[in-house]
Symmetry: C3
Subunit: 208 residues, 3 copies
């Protein structure tokens, strides 16, 4: 598999200090993540899957302001993590990026549609689709690691927010310490997709 | 990507006068489109998504006669448009054609199953799956153009039919000038699939 | 496509007498099939799609003991059938195996979620997804034959069990001689996935 060669000093240590993606790529990733988060969150709120208890900040569409900011920031962070872990693949283009975004938007929407379904098969379906998303867009350990990091930090953050009374999951979909059992699957797929977007933006910066 | 070379006179102008596909390919495309339309329409009628108001023509299964004729004809027209826009890819075979048909039959069925779901995530899911269908079966601009043409003409035709009192979408899924908000996504995927089928039939005629 | 060369005596006749997969591969396939069966069956029982009438044997989670044993055994049998029909592909690895398992676990879960949906589009969706699963994981006639064998023997076995009063499908999803109309699609996809797993285990035994 052809890989883009990065500058010699490329390492996790340096990456912490200096982003591997240029400002316009980071801005695009932030905007994509924030927009995707808003669309997905609208579905969760409309279906009654989640509810904002604290209205401390202004609402953007159906979401409290902090939500799109967190998702946008997480998208950038995961993309950077992916590039810090391994060089990006050189192949792939706009079409694959659009498909990766579609995969996570679709899975996010699906979790909202499963609100009143039996939890067992609903959860199985989400993990199965997350695995298929990873198979389609991940290039091995680096991308899977990004998915795992997202699958741990994302739900952990939401568990804290629920415990703090900021938001809540509806009864019946709150079985994982207050959040939905399918939430790690959704974040895992998100991590894999953000990793792929990081690769694609990096390859584009190098190639053209 | 290997491409089938078409006769020298190949152009949009000539294509208007003489079909690029032979009669048996056109007949097969018409039959596939009509059959797929009937199966999908059964789902829309059974789920209460759509209803025929005018019973002027005889019914074929659950559809007024004009419906399968329109879908079959549109399948041929989009396939011809694809071949007029760019040469077809030479690779691909029966399996990919079956998969392309399965993708659109599945998405059509899914729209029926989303009848009583929150419209936001239901719509997101349909557009996401349409994008994934395009990523899987489209070969760039020509196929995407076919999808866009279908996504404009198809819903526009249905909007006119609804306005004329011929048929209707149920309350709650009629928010796009009387038709469903996910309808352009369904037609876009249909256009991409019909384009791919046009390619496959053309390649088969040249190769074998 | 590179293929693994099997021992010279390879034939359907010998395969009947001596398994083509080694004991650890067969054990893994049995465990995968039994576990997948248990997860899927939990969904069918929880959604009310199926019900065990006879409680003659102990329950494993939500299933009567015979169910995971049958699914595990069928997974091994289909994998052996695949290898008896044609040499396995050499390519593919853990990721594709996980994806194939995810595809069938996801489709199994989906059939449970369709319990109360209109049967027409629910059935169309299942057959469409089974076809897409085959397109993704089957390598032509041998794998498709495995799917067809599973699609015949599996539902036939369940029809007998329903007729014998061992278990039942709920009203509305029992239209195919007492079992669900989408059941052959589910078994077809199962057969294709078991065939792919057989290939992957065989290639691994030869390669490493």
């Amino acid at each position: 598999m052809p890989r883009v060669s990065l500058p010699a000093g490329h390492s996790i240590g340096r990456q912490m200090l200096r982003p591997l993606l240029n400002p316009s790529a980071l801005l695009a990733l932030f905007a994509l993540g924030a927009a995707g988060g808003l669309i997905g969150d609208e579905g969760h709120v409309a279906s009654g899957t989640t509810r904002y208890i604290s209205h401390a900040l202004p609402f953007i569409w159906k979401s409290q302001l902090w939500f799109p900011l967190l998702v946008g920031g997480a998208t950038c962070a995961i993309a950077e993590l992916r590039l810090a872990l391994a060089p990006p693949r050189a192949e792939g283009g706009f079409g694959e990026g659009a498909a990766a975004v579609a995969a996570i938007v679709g899975l996010y929407a699906l979790t909202a549609l499963l609100r009143h379904d039996p939890l067992g098969p609903a959860t199985s379906l989400c993990y199965a689709l997350a695995a298929l998303t990873a198979w389609q867009f991940a290039d091995g350990r680096a991308a899977v690691a990004c998915g795992v990091v997202a699958a741990i930090i994302g739900p952990a953050t939401e568990i804290v927010l629920v415990a703090a009374g900021v938001s809540e999951y509806a009864e019946g979909v709150d079985g994982l310490f207050g959040v939905a059992p399918w939430l790690p699957a959704l974040y895992f797929a998100f991590g894999v997709v953000a990793a792929r977007l990081g690769e694609l933006f990096a390859a584009r910066a190098v190639n053209g």
